[in-house]
Amino acid sequence: MSWLKKLIPSRISTQSGQKKAVPEGIWAKCTACSAVLYRAELERNLDVCPKCDHHMRIGARRRLDIFLDEEPREEIGAEVVPVDALKFKDVKKYKDRLTQAQKATGETDALVSMMGQVQGVPLVATAFEFKFMGGSMGSVVGERFVRAVNTSLEHNIPLVCFSASGGARMQEALFSLMQMAKTSAALAKLSKQGIPFVSVLTDPTMGGVSASLAMLGDVHIAEPKALIGFAGPKVIEQTVRQTLPEGFQRSEFLQEKGAVDMVIDRRDLRDRIANLLAILTGQPAP
């Protein structure tokens, strides 16, 4: 305890601690502008702050839920589950980290895929769960992604991926790295068959996921102000010993540099992607 804390009467410090606890469920706070928001309204707004348009991170299942038509939906790859083949242990066992992540998210790993439709256009959509170990790509993410690609191939329907990932899953060591090659190879096959792949980059898309499947779209769409890049900003700062330019590695910066086609507000994604896919697959406008 610091000397200052010791000086403050415990009654006061306790109060300041309690003050933070906003009643769960009714109110939410924008992580960017700190506006206090009515949660139901925020949800109606697809977790985009009505005051400042900040796009908050959302989970994989909610992502697919707000993107796909209500019917039909069929989950792909849920049968694939993780196994700690390396018996990896750092300060914690990988096995325990997995169990913890599964409890916290209700998912068995960091990728959820579904076959469905968007405004009547059939497709396969896959989304990363960032809260599951930072959306890191291990063997299960790689395999589920490949199964999503295979479903696209089988039904000759486009693939859309919403990425949100810190990159490789270190606890799976080189197996994790190889998922970059595996997912990229599957996408090469998809491309060869002339099936469109739209990559939607959401906050954050970094490292091994950015340097493989996420950057291999026919079209790259980014949500506003998402952090997208290969190396993390801290690593870059330490390497080059320079302050990073304003907006560095954000969606708008990537668009300016030619890496993404468009930056689209979450509330417009359904319309825009449905339209785009209809054009790319030669169907009438949805």
Binding site: P82, L86, A181, K182, S184, A185, I236
Partner: protein, 319 residues
């Protein structure tokens, strides 16, 4: 401390220094001490054998980054003839962290590509410590596509701490450059053999590492992140690098066990730098043997088996 030897090699360094000293005396004083020299040489060999028979992953990691270790151009010079270096990505610049060009392997035309480290400070800077920028990967891609057109096998040599984490590299699309290489290499219509000759550092290594065969020199390492990086993130302390090296399984032996590489190329006693010619010959033989097998396959069989290999990577369970 002799800087050409690693910490765990210092007992060998001391013996070698003694031998050198005796040699000097020998030639100077015309006293016949060759017996003593050969006795010490035998001792040095035994010592080296005993130290190297039992290296831990962290020591191997140091070996893979040994300052005397042969680099890509050292191998190119010894394994191939008629090497003609080709430069530039045709769009932005020539990245000296990656070298590539056409050459002959026992007379047969091949394309060689590899990351290149520098020996002294000037060269290290010129080579950017073998950390490629996007233009380096795009040069590699250009050469691979050329190899496909002219039906030449591609031989890559991996030796990098990783892709360069710099502002400029990000601006020019480091992620896309790496991803594109994985994409194209998975379908390139010519045999590809990738060899980890030193440090196989993450995505920056994999970007020239997708192929039909992955070979690894005995004391090379290949990992998703450096032991230091892994330790910093998971243990919150770079001091735990040795533990991270063990946990990740970065050595050729472990990766062969796990089925992630195909073949280990033996190094001379004490490591590749102790006898570059012998090392190069071992590697040349391994390349020739593997190439013979790959060239006997039809193009379809080659690409199918490459694809199957890639799809087989991973540990999963089906519920």
């Amino acid at each position: 401390m002799n800087l050409n030897f690693l910490e765990f090699e210092q007992p060998i360094a001391e013996l070698e220094a003694k031998i050198e000293e005796l040699r000097y005396v020998g030639s100077d004083a015309e006293i016949n001490i060759s017996e003593e020299i050969s006795r010490l040489q035998g001792k040095s060999r035994d010592l080296t054998e005993s130290i190297f028979s039992n290296l831990n992953p962290w020591q191997v990691s140091q070996m893979s980054r040994h300052p005397q270790r042969p680099y890509t151009l050292d191998y190119i010079e010894r394994i191939f003839t008629d090497f003609q270096e080709l430069h530039g990505d045709r769009a932005f610049a020539d990245d000296r962290a990656i070298v590539g060009g056409v050459a002959r392997l026992d007379g047969k035309p091949v394309m060689v590509i590899g990351q290149q480290k520098g020996r002294d400070t000037t060269e290290k800077l010129k080579r950017n410590f073998a950390m490629p920028r996007p233009e380096g990967y795009r040069k590699a891609l250009r050469l691979m596509e050329m190899a496909e057109r002219f039906k030449m096998p591609v031989l890559t040599f991996i030796d990098t701490p990783g892709a360069y984490p710099g502002i400029d590299a990000e601006e020019r699309g480091q992620s896309e450059a790496i991803a594109r290489n994985l994409f194209v290499m998975s379908q390139l219509k010519t045999p590809i053999i990738c060899t980890v000759i030193g440090e196989g550092g993450s995505g920056g290594a994999l970007a020239i590492g997708v192929g039909d065969r992955v070979l690894m020199l005995q004391y090379g390492t290949y990992s998703v992140i450096s032991p230091e990086g892994c330790a910093t993130i998971l243990w919150k302390s770079a001091e735990k690098a040795a533990d991270a090296a063990v946990a990740m399984g970065i050595t050729s032996e472990r990766l062969k066990e796990l089925g992630l590489i195909d073949e280990i190329v033996a190094e001379p006693l004490g490591g590749a730098h102790r006898d570059m010619d012998e090392m190069a010959l071992n590697l040349k033989n391994a390349l020739n043997e593997n190439l013979d097998v790959l060239e006997s396959l039809s193009l379809d069989a080659l690409l199918d088996s490459r694809y199957e290999r890639l799809m087989a990577y991973g540990n999963i369970e089906e519920s």
